[in-house]
Symmetry: C2
Subunit: 451 residues, 2 copies
Amino acid sequence: MTERTVFHLTEKEMPDAWYNIQADLKTPMLPPLHPGTGNPITLEDMLPLFPKSLVEQEMSAERWVSIPGEVIDIYKLWRPSPLIRATALEKALDTPARIYFKYEGVSPTGSHKPNSDVPQAYYNKKEGVRRITTETGAGQWGSSLAFACQHFDIECLVYMVKVSYNQKPYRKNMMELFDARVVASPSDETDAGRKILAEHPDSPGSLGIAISEAIEQAVKDENTKYSLGSVLNFVVLHQTIIGLETEKQLALAGEKPDVMLASFGGGSNFGGFVLPFVKRKIDGESIRFVAVEPASCPTLTRGAFAYDFGDTIGMTPLMPMHTLGHDFVPSPIHAGGLRYHGAAPIISHLRNQNLIEAVAMKQTDCFASAVMFAKLQGIIPAPESTHAVHGAVKEALRCKEEGKSEVIVFNLSGHGHLDMSAYEAYLSGKLLDGEFSEAELQKNLANIKII
Amino acid sequence: MTERTVFHLTEKEMPDAWYNIQADLKTPMLPPLHPGTGNPITLEDMLPLFPKSLVEQEMSAERWVSIPGEVIDIYKLWRPSPLIRATALEKALDTPARIYFKYEGVSPTGSHKPNSDVPQAYYNKKEGVRRITTETGAGQWGSSLAFACQHFDIECLVYMVKVSYNQKPYRKNMMELFDARVVASPSDETDAGRKILAEHPDSPGSLGIAISEAIEQAVKDENTKYSLGSVLNFVVLHQTIIGLETEKQLALAGEKPDVMLASFGGGSNFGGFVLPFVKRKIDGESIRFVAVEPASCPTLTRGAFAYDFGDTIGMTPLMPMHTLGHDFVPSPIHAGGLRYHGAAPIISHLRNQNLIEAVAMKQTDCFASAVMFAKLQGIIPAPESTHAVHGAVKEALRCKEEGKSEVIVFNLSGHGHLDMSAYEAYLSGKLLDGEFSEAELQKNLANIKII
């Protein structure tokens, strides 16, 4: 093994603009709707929740959005992140495929999340916001927002999904280290939380519920705004720095990708990774993009394309997206960041256009591949990221069967150092796959507007 | 902040030999002694514990020792590690100093430890060893040995200091992920452990005790060898890859170091970091080297230079080293990797030659600097590494007072992702500094041979 396996970019080579795929879509996306009027949402409708510059980004059709210098300065603490060839994995699988992964676990909080937290905190600060509320599943998003907020001297209040709050105490410690206040959701601090607790006192919580709580706090207080870690256009926009760096690094490696994979929850790490390459597919290149989602929360593979709420209580605009219904409470799998009922509208749109594929994987299978990966490559994947690893392993085994030396590139969105209890559960045979009920799905979908 | 702050080397630029300072010492070290005969230890004396190639390295006076290709292949999973300029920290401290840190937390287990675990496992495998036993404090060494052993298909048995076993369950999970068996020490699996438990049933354990247990298992079984994570010449030798890379990276940055700091426990991360630069000092260059040790285990600053055992029971050769006495059981501070009664003989020797300095710092002060560092630079230091951070902060503040723009370089030996409970204790005001008793010290020293 003498050839190069790690591809670093210098700080100067870091992209200085995010890529907005809206500019290159042949068919435009459907607009989000105001739940009261049924009309397309306006910029003004979103201002109670988000600063104006982010709402403008949400609605922008400009191909490139400049990254502010203050954001670049913070990105440089960990970016550009490395692209690594997984030669040990290739050898162990005895595959003719060449496997690369982009590694986002080098960030301050160990995942891709700060790529959007930092600009969100920056734009809020610029518009005088004093406090930001948010939800977090596994804690990746919340800890990253905490990190970003303390950099810009903004208060941070995080509603953490209760099952994760209990499973992952170290994530809470990290948020507190970065000065955030962390509350288990559903909580009794909000009307939304109290409503859920009244109906389901033992609710493990969900991202949808935690979003309702965080939004309620923002709506109640004019000095507080809300921050979302996925789904929205501007979040996926910020994450495109992953794919833009990957493009340059694959060029350094002299490779053209055949198939690109990422774990799929709301869509930010998948979208950020693949969108710059989807542009090439729109232009005629042959590349496959595979979103790997949990079998217990199969939004893209089994959800309906519908106008649905982003949260559980129904406080957000109606979003055109693949959804399991906003009432859906996923099984308490360890990949807390993937426990979301909906899919980013932009990713849903690309799925409808057959530009991307999706597959659903069982948690135990994902952990089996992740343990193999950790032993061979020396990086322990986050529970969410195990899905991308397993997806890549399956593609590599397909290449072996078909005798094809394809180039497989996946996004390893984070490390699992704060999720070792999930590995303990797996190794001791106690990890469950979680359940998914078709009857429950149909019940949830009955109340929403299928498109 | 537009200048370069991260200095990566390519894989090709990684050093292909370790540096052995024995070749450049003006005054030779005293030899270790056989406790029975009082004569200098021979190669044969050490063979029950270590494979021959490592014993030869222990006694070698060759300046350069080639790194085997198989070891380089595994090193490449994370090496060369980055050198980073801490510009945010400089700005916050308002110091004219320029602060750089070498970051070893990028390794599979999050510290510098695999630099020696991988070659130790390799040489054992080459000589047919089937099982390796070891001790571990915070778990950094044990998890790294587990990682290395599974790569070479060797069984791994780790005695983990009981206080850390209870404080750091995630470390245990990580060792088990890498197929090791982990036992809390003192245990009832060995004569050494049973002896301690009989006298002190509530013993929190110590590295010295855990070493006794691991050695006993190796001595009892011919297919089992022992592995040590610090102190010995060959361990420090393997760690010199840190300093050798740092030399090349400082050259890239166009800098000449004025002061270099590292946390000090047994001496492997400190030694590995500074030895290639100590050579320059021997040759006349002006550089300061500062070992930062915990105030509750002040081996270099308050210990005696004596012939003492490396373990608590007295199974090792007598080592010429700064020691608090082999009976010393340090306070249960979170920096478990620094809870060792002795100092590597090579570092003790350099201290006697006035080639290096040592300072002792309180745990709470170290955590205060580490929290500041984490917020500014986006990396959460391991409890052990907080000592290096705090030492560097104090040097930077001295430079500010004196108006000197010195170049301060420290080794950030690991991340604290698996030690978040220590940060929780610090943030909630529950972190103790640990105690150190002069009377206890004098009692311990009464039984050993002061040189």
